[in-house]
Each structure stands twice: as structure tokens, then as C-alpha cells.
């Protein structure tokens, strides 16, 4: 018998945001409040019909972020076990993205101050790193090996044990 009108009024308002490439998005105020940056803008009365411009967030990741915030805001408090499980499943599916989108989300969630999403993307990135050799990690993340052969040899020699854990990789580094 919870009163659904408790935090009525403002929270039903839709907040508009504009991506760096000019696309408009809308989300409930409660969803926008999950972003520290948007919350401050709303508090400072900067949210108007023209929309809050997000200069460093492109449309593609912004669409995802709006999706994330809307879902999480709708189920923010007093979750039943089933709802919590469902949210967990949503998160797991949500973050099944390629590395390009992952970088976008890492940067955008950090910029917008969406803590939950930031943690989710950070954990996903860490999970991708785990259990990989340095070379596999460079491939996964598109990183150029900028160590000189001498430096690389020294690092390998010093920490040889760490490269021999499960099965010895064909190349140590």
C-alpha cells in the first residue's frame, strides 16, 4: 500500500539532453538524477526545453546511458529479491558490449558521474584483462607495445613466475 505519489511533481518531469553530435534524448528526472553532473544542472535550473548539452558524449553511448539510468531509476528503492535479480541480469546484458562501446561508456560514465554505470564498466574491463597474457591484452584493447625489447626481456625475467601460471604461453610476453 505504498503511496506512489510521495515524490510526485518534479520526478515526473522529463529531462532533455543533447549529445555532442546533436541528437536529443529524453529521460525522467529521477533517471537524470543518477548522473551527478545532470543533477547539479537540474538543481541549478539549467534544464530547459533546449536540453542539457553534453559536449563530450556522443549519441551512441548517450542512448545506452539514458537506457541504463531509466532502468535503474525505475527500480531505485525497496527492491524485492526478484527485482534485484532482474536488475542484475539487465546489467549483465547491458555491459555485453564491444571494446569501442566499453571505452565510450567508461569515459562518459566518468564524465557524467553515473557511479553505478562507472563501476559496471570498470568491472567489465577488469574482467576482460584477467587471465590474459600481455600480448592478448594488447590485442583485446588495441594497445601498441611501447617497451623496448631490452625492457620487455627484463620485465619477463624478473617476473617469470607470473607468466607461467596455468600453461606456459608460447611467448612469455
Amino acid at each position: 500500500m505504498a503511496a506512489a505519489t510521495d515524490d510526485a511533481g518534479d520526478s515526473n518531469e522529463m529531462i532533455r539532453v543533447v549529445s555532442s553530435d546533436g541528437e536529443h534524448f529524453e529521460m525522467p528526472e529521477a533517471a537524470a538524477n543518477l548522473s551527478l553532473v545532470l543533477r547539479h544542472m537540474i538543481e541549478d535550473d539549467c534544464a530547459d526545453a533546449a536540453g542539457i548539452p553534453l559536449a563530450v558524449v556522443a549519441a551512441k553511448p548517450l542512448a545506452k546511458i539514458v537506457d541504463y539510468c531509466t532502468k535503474h531509476a525505475a527500480k531505485s528503492s525497496g527492491l524485492t529479491i526478484e527485482e534485484a535479480e532482474e536488475l542484475k541480469r539487465f546489467d549483465a546484458e547491458f555491459i555485453e558490449v564491444d571494446t569501442d562501446m566499453l571505452y565510450d561508456l567508461l569515459v562518459a560514465a566518468d564524465f557524467m558521474g553515473v557511479e553505478g554505470l562507472s563501476k559496471l564498466a570498470v568491472q567489465r574491463t577488469a574482467d576482460l584483462i584477467k587471465g590474459k597474457t600481455p600480448e592478448q591484452n594488447r590485442e583485446t584493447f588495441g594497445i601498441v607495445n611501447d617497451f623496448t625489447p631490452e625492457e620487455e626481456e627484463e620485465i619477463c625475467k624478473e617476473n617469470e613466475w607470473a607468466f607461467q601460471i596455468t600453461k606456459p604461453p608460447s611467448r612469455l610476453c
Binding site: S20, A55, V56, V57, A58, T99, D100, Y103, D104, L106, V107, D110, S118, V122, Q123, T125, A126, I129, K130, G131, K132, T133, P134, N137, R138, F141, G142, I143, V144, N145, D146, F147, E152, I155, C156, E158, N159, E160, W161, A162, F163, Q164, I165, T166, C173
Partner: protein
């Protein structure tokens, strides 16, 4: 990502990269990540050791296992793994690289280091050892602890144990950051004499340890 081109790994700030690397579970994962590129290494290995200290505070040490020996010498020691999955292959934990393995007995171990004492012919009891060597099986390095000072020799029973280094390497123990403590009363809190490595700005292993006398409570 604002101006031209998709976001790439270099667009991620050091702060965010640090959060990612902090979430790796094991030291082995972290070492391999630190070998990916200079930037990742720079975030992990800072001059002040802040990242490593925080990493250790978050995760605690990985317990690999124990040395178990029923014979009298270090060469009889078998390694019992407790981690699942096995973190380090058994061959990496053998003490066979220590010269004259038979004449040493295990006095203590801490972190990645093992302290060996030379058995006294009189009692074969480690507490009478007056000669010590410490080693790091993972990197197969060892170093003699210099012959105890006359003051140490005058003491009757000498217990010896390893303690964390002062503040290098994030305050943890390692080949360049350790203390070998001996005490007369065998009360661990009463550290009487301490061996420390000479702090060297770059090289970890080669400098001989200095001897310092601490009389603390």
C-alpha cells in the same frame, strides 16, 4: 571522443584506468597487466608505491601455500599448495637454487621470502643459528644476511624472523624491502636487532644488507 575518431583506450583517464587495474584479483594478473605497455606500468608502479599499497589493502596477499618438511634440512621441504587454482607451479617454489641446500633449515617465511638458518652442530635447533640466508623462490634470488654483530653473538638464544620492510614496495616485504629481526626473549614484540637492506633508488637485489640495531618495545 568529442572531436573526430572513435574513443580509444588512450581516452580513458588515468583515474579510471587505475580503478580498472585495482579490480584485478591477483598479483599475477597485475604483473601481467603491468607488462602490457608503459602507461599501464606507470599507473601500477608509482614512485611512492601508493597504487600497490592500496591494491594490497583491497585484496590482501595471495596465499600460495606452505613449506612442509619432516627432515631436518631445507632440501627436504615439500611445498603444499593451498590456492585453487594453483597460482604458482611447484617447480618455481623449490629451494634447490640455494647453495649447499642441505645445511640450511627453514627459520621463517613471510611474503615472498624464506629465511634459512644454518644449523648449529650442537643442537640442530634453529634458535641457535648464527648464520642466515634469505631467498625468494619465485625469482630464485638469495642473499646472505651478514654475520651477526658481536652484540648479537653475545646474546644467548637467537630467534630470527622476517618482518615487512619499512615503506618501500608499498610497505610490504620483498628482496629490497625486508627486515630480519632477532630477539633474545623470543617475544615477537621485542625487536632487538634488525637487518635492513640499504635503500637503493633503482636496483632491487644487489646491495648487501646493512645492519642496524633497534631497541624498541
Amino acid at each position: 571522443m568529442a572531436a573526430g575518431g572513435p574513443t580509444c583506450v588512450d581516452d580513458i583517464s588515468d583515474d579510471v584506468l587505475e580503478m580498472v587495474l585495482m579490480r584485478l584479483r591477483s598479483a599475477a594478473c597485475l604483473i601481467r597487466a603491468a607488462s602490457v605497455c608503459k602507461r599501464w606500468r606507470r599507473v601500477i608502479v608509482t614512485a611512492d608505491g601508493v597504487f600497490l599499497r592500496r591494491f594490497r589493502a583491497h585484496h590482501g596477499p595471495d596465499l600460495v601455500g606452505h613449506y612442509h618438511y619432516v627432515g631436518a634440512s631445507a632440501s627436504d621441504a615439500a611445498f603444499v599448495h593451498v590456492s585453487r587454482p594453483v597460482l604458482v607451479s611447484s617447480g618455481r617454489l623449490s629451494l634447490d637454487f640455494v647453495p649447499d641446500t642441505d645445511s640450511w633449515t627453514i627459520a621463517d617465511s613471510r611474503g615472498s621470502l624464506v629465511l634459512l638458518g644454518k644449523r648449529s652442530e650442537r643442537t640442530a635447533n634453529v634458535y641457535y643459528c648464527l648464520e642466515f640466508i634469505f631467498c625468494e623462490p619465485l625469482t630464485r634470488r638469495y642473499q646472505l644476511v651478514p654475520v651477526p654483530t658481536p652484540e648479537m653473538k653475545r646474546r644467548g638464544k637467537l630467534g630470527a624472523f622476517l618482518a615487512d620492510g619499512d615503506d618501500e614496495l608499498g610497505g610490504r616485504i620483498g628482496m629490497s624491502s625486508y627486515r630480519v629481526c632477532t630477539n633474545k626473549t623470543r617475544l615477537l614484540s621485542r625487536i632487538m636487532l634488525t637487518h635492513r637492506p640499504i635503500p637503493s633508488p633503482s636496483g632491487p637485489s644487489s646491495s648487501p644488507p646493512a645492519t642496524a640495531a633497534d631497541a624498541s618495545t
